[in-house]
């Protein structure tokens, strides 16, 4: 059953939780716009080697006001499966020091999915909370936080009770900011409350719980 195990993984994980890095880390300035692309996903054993799933998405950020950023994203890997997976949310400045070097950002968002095959629709709210620390004069920063997808359905396949109400994760990352470009690296620990041993994907997680994820992002500022 080894072959099917590795192939099914690719499909399943395209829709696994938190298949992208945090969208808004430090809210943009009012009027600032940014487009970006992300690559990465949960870590699995594939042919004996640990790899992050190569899931992709593109995103757009726009500073609506001071401390308020709009985010929108499309999960491009899902599109290849015939599933439109869009994501829209806000990045809200919850706290920031006067020096603006340390702050807390809260990001509520919504994931919407729709497939062209059977016209099934899914909606998943998501909430991230993270703090960032700008550690140098140049606006490079470290960040860390936690978040969760929220399962709205009370039942799953075959009318079984859905016991996963939340699918939480913790994240740490780094942003390397240049005048026009931003490079992001992020690690996540997904679904850490779930035993991963009886699942088709060979997730890599500490003590067989959850899955570690690795993500890379690149974005470019358009207008300020």
């Amino acid at each position: 059953m080894g072959i099917i195990r590795t192939t099914v993984i690719l499909g399943c994980l395209a829709f696994a939780t938190a298949c992208a890095p945090a969208r808004v880390i430090k809210p943009l300035e009012k009027g600032e716009k940014q487009i970006g692309a992300n690559l990465g996903g949960a870590m699995i054993n594939y042919g004996g080697a640990p790899i992050p799933l190569p899931l992709t998405s593109i995103n757009y950020l726009q500073g609506l006001d001071t401390g308020l950023t709009l985010s929108a994203a499309l999960h491009t890997t899902d599109i290849l499966f015939g599933v439109m997976h869009a994501e829209a949310g806000l990045g809200i400045k919850a706290y920031q020091t006067k020096s603006e070097k340390f702050g807390v950002t809260i990001s509520p968002s919504m994931n919407l999915m729709y497939d062209i095959w059977e016209q099934n629709f899914s909606a998943y709210p998501q909430l991230d909370a993270l703090c960032y620390w700008q550690y140098a004069e140049k606006p490079n920063l470290f960040y860390g936080g936690l978040g969760s997808w929220v399962e709205l359905n009370k039942v799953k396949a075959h009318n079984e009770v859905q016991t996963n109400e939340l699918l939480p994760y913790i994240m740490v990352g780094h942003q390397f900011n240049r005048p026009k470009w931003t490079f992001t690296t992020e690690a996540k620990y997904l679904g850490f409350q779930h035993d991963n041993r009886d699942l088709v994907p060979d997730y890599i997680g500490p003590s067989h719980y959850g899955a570690l994820g690795l993500y890379f992002g690149i974005s470019r500022r358009l207008i300020k």
Binding site: M1, T7, G11, D115
Partner: protein, 294 residues
């Protein structure tokens, strides 16, 4: 924006990533079926005590017709074919990997049910597996299984003496053709490590209630089809199955069965492919025998 929307539309309309074909992992590298001489990996090793006389083993071909898409598929019959018209036959439907040689020890084990060669056992390689022609598909599983039933019927088998046994992926044609019979109506259904549906696979992996249509167009749905089965039902599953979880797959299938008789065998310490070994060959044969003879 118009360009972006056009790109998205083109990507969606040209979507080609579906996992339907990936459900099948056939091995077509063989030039002949070797059965006892097969030296490749098998999921269970069988002691010599379960050896069967060569005179009662025949490999042959059947024609399977999938709505005009005809394929020559291979089959192996273990037992005295002259008794098909009077005795019980077990139709064994294998899992998604390899070919018949890979499952030969399992087939031999079933041929020891009751006693050596007490019941005839027929097994097939689905289209696209081993030396069978064609390409694997969900509908092909059903057509090929029905072709096996047609062969049995031509040999004189009647529905009341047909027991169907599906392992893993083989649980799909076993359940489908018991719930929605074609040539013959199996009188008993046996499932080992069945899967509920591809939707359960996706939901287990993602942790979310995502529809199966997000990854495949397969319509295999043992969890729902089993509800249509009235015939006696035997379910056996490894408690430590790390491929098809007993909890989310096997238990759901078993719970949804509403027919006249069912029995469950949850085998402690067994994984997906080693249930007979962990259970103990004699205990496994006893359980199968009691069900077939009841």
């Amino acid at each position: 924006m118009r360009t972006l929307m056009t790109m998205i539309a083109v990507l969606m309309l040209s979507s080609c990533i579906r996992l339907d074909s990936l459900m099948f992992s056939p091995d077509t590298s063989i030039e002949t079926y070797q059965l006892d001489a097969f030296e490749g990996r098998q999921e269970i090793d069988l002691p010599e005590a379960y050896a069967l006389p060569d005179s009662l083993i025949e490999v042959f071909t059947l024609e399977s017709d999938l709505e005009g898409d005809k394929a020559e598929i291979y089959a192996v019959y273990v037992g005295n074919q002259n008794l098909i018209s009077t005795d019980t036959v077990i139709l064994y439907l294998h899992g998604n990997a390899g070919h018949l040689d890979f499952y030969w020890n399992r087939i031999k084990l079933l041929a020891n049910t009751g006693a050596k060669n007490r019941f005839g056992v027929l097994a097939i390689d689905y289209r696209g597996y081993g030396l069978s022609g064609g390409t694997p598909s969900e509908d092909g599983l059903y057509a090929d299984t029905d072709a096996a039933m047609k062969w049995l019927k031509e040999k004189g088998l009647t529905s009341d003496r047909l027991v169907i046994y599906g392992f893993s992926m083989g649980s799909a044609p076993a359940t489908e053709l018991t719930a929605n019979p074609r040539t013959l109506q199996p009188s008993k259904l046996m499932l080992e490590a069945p899967f509920a549906s591809d939707e359960v696979m996706l939901q287990d992996a993602s942790g979310l209630s995502l529809p199966g249509s997000y990854i495949s167009n397969l319509e295999i749905n043992n969890a729902d089809e089993i509800a249509k089965v009235d015939e006696p039902f035997f379910w056996i599953h490894g408690v430590d199955d790390d491929y098809l979880s007993i909890e989310t797959h096997g238990e759901v299938v078993f719970k949804n069965y509403q027919g006249i008789y069912s029995e469950a065998h949850r085998v402690e310490g067994a994984n997906h492919g080693d249930v007979p070994f962990i259970m103990g060959f004699e205990a496994y044969i006893d359980a199968v025998t009691q069900f077939v003879e009841r």
